[in-house]
Symmetry: C2
Subunit: 139 residues, 2 copies
DNA sequence: AAAAATTTTGCAACAAAGTTGCAAAGGTTT
DNA sequence: AAACCTTTGCAACTTTGTTGCAAAATTTTT
């Protein structure tokens, strides 16, 4: 049987390269979301920084990972669980950022509520990020 | 009567300097939120970049402005409407980011709903950012 | 299985964004 | 107005992100 990473890459019509396999594999093994810096550290000198930027960009475009907004200038990326496709993400779940251990969780079973906006405003996407203490870090 | 900016600065126990007055004034005159870059552009050569960084930092700490998370690595800042104080923000409103004109609105009258988290997770802060088309940009 | 065609990668060179220490300038208090 | 404390600007630096292009790797065609 083939590696999961390879299957995913093919499903999204991407050519299977070493970089992509390794980075995707890292996501598959990680509990939470990852920043560019996390990946750069983990991969060591293996890949060029530029390649990591481009790979993340490609993965987002193809619907393999999604971004999670934050107020600390460090975009986090996490695997899409739903069947997201190129240009169409369906990641309507809440994200949780632990202030203790720094882990960012995709709360796949907690969905984002509909927000009633003022007249004239049309919603396109809603991002909801909760921060606090995660189940592993509570005293 | 004194300028509003000066009053605010004094209320938050900050010494009144030219930089702080001008930057705060810019916030008071702006409809939406501002990024560091917005301010740097607006102020031209008037102030050093470093000073702007430090001023924004101070304003956030003192509860004069709050940050708005985003997925594009460009933190936005907006005036606190509620009576936020040093170390204690109470900005529980929804933010709206227009994909057309780029304006970020504080929807002060749309409050963030309570989110039911999985067992063991404790919420501390909730950020909710909606993006779409604003009332000015709708066709 | 080679060759041709296409895509991806690494390098180099930049550009932009953010940080730190320190002396000079500016505010505040007495 | 002197003394005191805080803020600013500068310089130097680190980190983060972007772009063009040739070499290398992958996929498609023959
Ligand atoms: Mn997620
Ligand atoms: Mn706000
Ligand atoms: Zn934790
Ligand atoms: Zn708009």
């Amino acid at each position: 049987m083939q590696e999961a990473a390879i299957i995913t890459l093919k499903k999204h019509e991407l050519s299977v390269t070493d970089t992509r396999k390794k980075i995707l594999q890292f996501f598959l093994e990680s509990a939470g979301a990852l920043t560019h810096a996390d990946i750069e550290q983990q991969m060591g000198e293996a890949f060029d920084r530029v390649t990591i930027y481009r790979t993340l960009q490609t993965f987002v475009e193809k619907g393999i990972i999604h971004t999670i907004p934050s107020a600390d200038n460090a975009i986090r990326y996490a695997l899409c669980k739903d069947n997201c496709a190129a240009g169409h993400h369906h990641d309507d779940h809440v994200h949780f950022l632990c202030n203790d251990c720094g882990t960012t969780y995709c709360l796949d079973h907690v969905s984002v509520p509909k927000i009633k906006l003022p007249k004239g405003f049309t919603a396109n996407q809603t991002d909801l990020v909760v921060s606090g203490v995660c189940h592993k870090c509570e005293a």
